[in-house]
Symmetry: C2
Subunit: 220 residues, 2 copies
């Protein structure tokens, strides 16, 4: 199996190509450190973008929503869906507005959505989504009820093509602009979990598990 | 002028309607605290989602890219584009997988993109985008060169309809599940700027302005 996604019209990065990568591990790493994906589909000929929770397993991404939700119904009918995940890592203060920008990690993938209908497959997908978002949590919780599984719509998206674009480091200014006495550099943006806050209806003596506590202060 | 966006088929929130708002100020606030928008358009009948820097002025959102970029060319030809911005504020650890979720602030808008071609209008839009992203920076920088403006493509998106969805607070569990001795609560996620890092090619003695320094530790 190739380590890279094949480059096609669909996933070719056209702008700032030097920042592009088609490496599967690089794409996976960006996906795995995100909590939400922006999923695009077509409704009545126009694009709709919806933020969705997701989980990845190998080359498959699982998305979920209410079974009756428009996004599930429409994704089911969509031939090719597009999904993007982007982390902003810093503002880049260059010596000109033109070269001012951001540092980021972005991944875009395309795939044909399919509705997961078998209850066992749905349970598996729900486990993947839960574990990608809240590691260790699935086994702490009761089994989903039959009715809960029925009410949940699961879409599996097998990655057909993908690309990533990563921008990092200091501003890249025009040669002449380095003579201008203006400050330049970066302002890092950090996204991190903070401290757990307990629901006030907890049963006395119940505390968060080690797996849940381990998420505190984790950076995305 | 109404304080709310009119509800139509396009912007009606269908799921979790109790979390929806059509209030213009609420939508603006979510847009203004975001650095990137996920912009969706249709290419060859399929949806493409692209993360873009943007700036808002009243009911207009300005997007930019390279003038020759696919996204600019395609947005120019798009009748209605969709743009979403979502902040994740916390993971919500409920007493079941079914009720586990996230707290978030999300805004979605629809509008007809138009290419901004007049150089003065383009400069104005660039100032709006720069000031929304890096307040106070525009006046610290040299004027954009004619060629830089020419190479930049600007799309203006007048907001035709929009909605926001906000989820906050503690888990909302099934009545029976409150008897289960499992921890529940939230894990806040914080996105904040950190400390400025200077480019190592600065002219001796040049330091960051007050406006730039004021961005440090700012939370999104």
């Amino acid at each position: 199996m190739s380590n890279e996604y094949e480059i096609s019209k669909q996933n070719r990065v056209r702008q700032l190509r030097e920042k592009a990568t088609y490496d599967k591990e690089a794409v996976h790493a960006i996906l795995d450190s995100a909590l939400l994906a922006s999923v695009g589909f077509v409704q009545d000929g126009q694009a709709v973008v919806v933020p969705m929770l997701f989980g990845r397993e190998g080359e498959t991404v699982f998305l979920h929503g209410a079974r009756k939700a428009r996004v599930i119904r429409l994704l089911e009918e969509t031939v090719t869906a597009c999904m993007n995940v982007t982390h902003v890592d810093a503002l880049v203060y260059a010596r000109s507005a033109f070269n001012s920008s951001m540092n980021y990690r972005s991944a875009t993938l395309f795939g044909t959505p399919r509705l997961v209908e078998n209850p066992e497959d749905k349970l598996h997908a729900l486990r993947v989504i839960t574990e990608c978002t809240m590691p260790g949590r699935w086994d702490e919780l009761r089994e989903p009820l039959e009715n809960e599984v029925k009410k949940t719509g699961i879409i599996a998206l097998d990655i057909e093509s993908a690309s990533a674009k990563v921008s990092s480091g200091m501003p890249d200014d025009e040669d002449a602009d380095y003579e201008i006495p203006v400050w330049a550099g970066i302002l890092p943006l950090e996204s991190a979990f903070r401290t757990l806050e307990s629901d006030d209806q907890l049963i006395d003596g119940v505390t968060a598990s080690e797996a849940v506590r381990a998420m505190q202060n984790k950076r995305l």
